[in-house]
Symmetry: C2
Subunit: 408 residues, 2 copies
Amino acid sequence: MVKVGVLGYGTVGSGVVEILEKNKDIIAKRVGQEISVKAVLDLRDFPGDPVEKVLVHDFDIVANDPEISIVVETMGGVHPAYEFVKTCLENGKSVCTSNKALVAAYGPELLALAEEKNINFLFEASVGGGIPIIRPLKTSLAPDEILEISGILNGTTNYILTEMTEKGSDFDSVLKDAQDKGYAEKDPTADVEGYDACRKIAILTSLAYGKQLDFEDIYTEGITRITDRDIAYAKKMGAKVKIFGSSKKVGDKVSAMVAPQLIYPEHPLYSVDGVFNAILVKGNMVGDVMFYGQGAGKLATASAVVSDVMDAAKHAGVNIITLWDAEKLDLVAAEDARNVFFVRVSGIKAQKSEKVKELFGNVKMVDAGYDDEFAFVTEEMSEGDYEKAAAQLDGVINKIRVDQTGLA
Amino acid sequence: MVKVGVLGYGTVGSGVVEILEKNKDIIAKRVGQEISVKAVLDLRDFPGDPVEKVLVHDFDIVANDPEISIVVETMGGVHPAYEFVKTCLENGKSVCTSNKALVAAYGPELLALAEEKNINFLFEASVGGGIPIIRPLKTSLAPDEILEISGILNGTTNYILTEMTEKGSDFDSVLKDAQDKGYAEKDPTADVEGYDACRKIAILTSLAYGKQLDFEDIYTEGITRITDRDIAYAKKMGAKVKIFGSSKKVGDKVSAMVAPQLIYPEHPLYSVDGVFNAILVKGNMVGDVMFYGQGAGKLATASAVVSDVMDAAKHAGVNIITLWDAEKLDLVAAEDARNVFFVRVSGIKAQKSEKVKELFGNVKMVDAGYDDEFAFVTEEMSEGDYEKAAAQLDGVINKIRVDQTGLA
């Protein structure tokens, strides 16, 4: 019998307790022994909820219970999650977390501590919710040098962009609708500004290359500047607007970014719509591999946490190797990253196209039928060169990077 | 230093040797020690190939080398692969194989032997080539009761159906083209008749439910009867024809089948085209999860084999639990499986539609503009009831099952 402590009885934490109960028999069979929840820590009370029997309000009860060998951390936030997790690891308990903020900030330290203690620090649910991605990256794709990762890593923004595309609605009204439906938070900043996706691509990239990529170092652009006109242009181009967290190997360095991207039907992520997430990984041997599923949600995310609990139970006293050093990953400077840009400009095309050619070279014009603006697509150029050229062109309204994946 | 023996230096076997050499450093770092190939068994000689230095023609050299702790089996075919693998396991060597025929036929026996010896029998590459699916099913999806699996499991047939759809060509000319390009074998029977997909869905289903599903017991229908007219109807319906290996839980039993399916854009596998494969798994907690990638090919498949070699190296002396008993899975009889059918009938609609309604009840007519035939879609009915009704209707040309996934 393996005994588990759960820190935080919110959406994911209560999902973990539910799965461990509902799928108890299957889980016991697959692990080789029963797993049961001995204590759930939360500040709140839950009158009438069966959790009452194991509910505690004092962290020390979990931390000092020698029977509890695995702790689930589903409180969210960096503090006191970090202090709690560290104490549990120091006390010899494996920890399974869904907390991307914690993992992005303290991954290497907590992994090193787990290794030292011959226990495990696992975080499948921190990226992609129920989508298996962390474990496949550590195991299935381990023979490969990772060349590129592109992910639709945030369900809220993918839902908003999908609705804008399908209904032609503007950002604000779709956001309001998403909030009403519970797909977006009251304060949607972390999602719509790309901060959530940023932490997730930081985790994936750190794992892929075995060194720390600080999320603060990743150029991050949200979707708040995407308008119905951008969407109309995208349709005209036979493309869709998605927001990607992405990284790729460039020589000995790695380039990483969170930003909206125009993608074509040939891109494996093109048909990933609504609240679904997906991650495309390119290995130097396996080629393109894609993982798709629910990137959030109580039971999907909790299922990923429970898969870690089962792994921790099967690896009692054995550290599962996870390469992620505290040493910093060598990052390509944001201005040196190379991209293709779709650019919208206010004014009359005939009057500005000479200037556009002078500044951007060989471009392809895109006409979506507007009289007061025009648009073009550049060839591949550095972010720095783009910025320099754009600064000299009057009336740039917006730019969106164009992902060429799948195009000949 | 871990020493590996490779049985069979064909496409996949030579890919394994290539990856272990090319990605040697990454692999050593991730496993914690170097992995090198000590012997490669093949009947042929390979003059000038570096493999010559380790090439052997006698199986006993591999089987009896105490330094070789992991054996890769990439010979294909059931015999003598089975005898060789069994001997290696009996001699205490873990075995990693890409051989679906072997796994489908002898999985439970070889797994039991590996468990008894505290070693491992691993077969990630036997299904979906480079796509991680076997390991995720055993680990990431372990908390879940598996409700349904649908897979595009064969690249040759997916390529043929994609070409027929995109170019409007007929089956025979596309098959010839696929053979010229090396996407189809000279004798394409195993692919186009669905036998290859059948072994793969047998393996996935056996793993999902922990009991043996004999591939001979799975109703299997290939794509040889699909014509350009079927494709034209599919387009008219806004659908595509794909061939799925699929299984699902029905009460306490499991229903399994290989057959062409009409699927709609809402289906997560709709945009999986060309030689790509993908597998959709529905868990009772995680919901829909999809895995996509190259289902065949030298390096993709070899990458999956090497991921198993790395797992075997990390689990020296520790058996990775794999539930797959020899006991037979309780299968729904083929005639009791329930499906929606698209049916084409020769003759004039006006003259036969009364009879169609009498036999099939509430159907939806589909008009693709042909004068000499018509078509309809049934409501859900059992395969047995469909056969009875179809037998009483003159001039049934073809039927294709309709997968309703994603439709409201």
